[in-house]
């Protein structure tokens, strides 16, 4: 009997004072994060899929309709073709994008879709302008967007695209 009580008391004492156990720490959600910041969950999943063998990936995407799966596979292939440096840079870019407010992210996606729908020559003009705007400071960019030259060269819809896409955070 005595031994049993000693065991129970020891177990309780251990649970209360032992470092690294469930009871001696606040819940994970309340703990400050230590070490490097984890990548966004979507990126982690892309990396996981990317690291899988073709069989594993097929098994994982087994329930995805064939057409959708083919599209996903193509996007993954494009991602795989990037060099480690490009992938790293893109990952940083994605982190910055994820930190934007959801409505701004959606605005950028929408602007990108609109850009894709432009006629080829207009698309090229807008893309060139985005490249120029991204090289400017915030104030210079706004000044250029408001300039007569821009107003004459781009429609109001194109200027919205320029404004939204040029605001994408830069990677250092």
């Amino acid at each position: 009997m005595r031994t049993m009580w000693q065991c129970v008391l020891l177990a309780v004492a251990f649970a209360l004072v032992a470092p690294g156990n469930a009871l001696s720490q606040p819940p994970a959600a309340m703990r400050p994060r230590k070490g490097p910041v984890r990548p966004p969950r979507g990126l982690t999943m892309v990396e996981r899929l990317n690291g899988m063998s073709p069989e594993e990936r097929q098994h994982t995407l087994d329930k995805v309709p064939p057409e959708r799966r083919a599209q996903l596979e193509r996007a993954l292939e494009r991602y795989q073709k990037l060099s480690p440096d490009q992938r790293n840079r893109l990952s940083q870019q994605f982190r910055g994008f994820q930190q934007l407010p959801p409505e701004q992210r959606e605005g950028i996606r929408q602007a990108f879709r609109q850009l894709s729908n432009l006629a080829p020559e207009r698309r090229r003009a807008v893309r060139r302008e985005i490249g120029k705007l991204r090289g400017l400071t915030l104030e210079e960019r706004q000044e250029r967007l408001d300039s007569d030259e821009t107003k004459q060269s781009f429609s109001s819809a194109e200027r919205v695209i320029l404004s939204r896409l040029a605001a994408l955070p830069e990677v250092d």
Binding site: M1, M4, W5, V8, A11, V12, F14, A15, A18, G20, N21, A22, L23, Q25, A28, R31, R33, R38, P40, R41, G42, L43, T44, M45, V46, R48, L49, T60, L61, V64, R68, Q71, L72, A75, L76, R78, Y79, K81, L82, Q86, R89, L90, Q93, F94, F97, I108, R109, F112, R123, R124, R127, R128, I130, G131, K132, R134, G135, L165, L168, V171
Partner: protein, 161 residues
Amino acid sequence: MKCLAQDSQDAALLLDYCERRLEPELAAQLERHLAVCPACARMVEAQRTVWEALDVWEPGAISADFNARLYSRILEMEAEPAWRRWLKAIPGWHWKPAMPLAAACLAILAVALWRGPAASDQPAGDDAIDVEQVERTLSDLDMLQQLTAMPADTSAPEQRY
């Protein structure tokens, strides 16, 4: 005569018979019953085996300091620690009902300690691949790749990674 082995009071008669404490007339009546009742006969036989075993059993010799050790043990138990005396002072305290609770606490502790480190920073379901989220991420990556591939002041052709 009904079977005596079925009833505890009647079974006492069988024990008395084994100890030869029954009146001769009752013993004779019982012997007639034993001849036709296998259950009672088995019980009598088992009882006799026990008695015979006890007859030949001899208790082992005790050590010379047995009494001294016994009394010392009794004294030791009487000098209980304070917490045990306090527990006994609690009205209605008995250790037996507390045993299931203690066992439950131990089980909970074991599970909590076992699962603790595993449930650290990884939210539940992190292992699962959310296809929609993967598609959204790939689409965003695609877009970002194209947007960052727009060098300043150049007429480079569009590229899709």
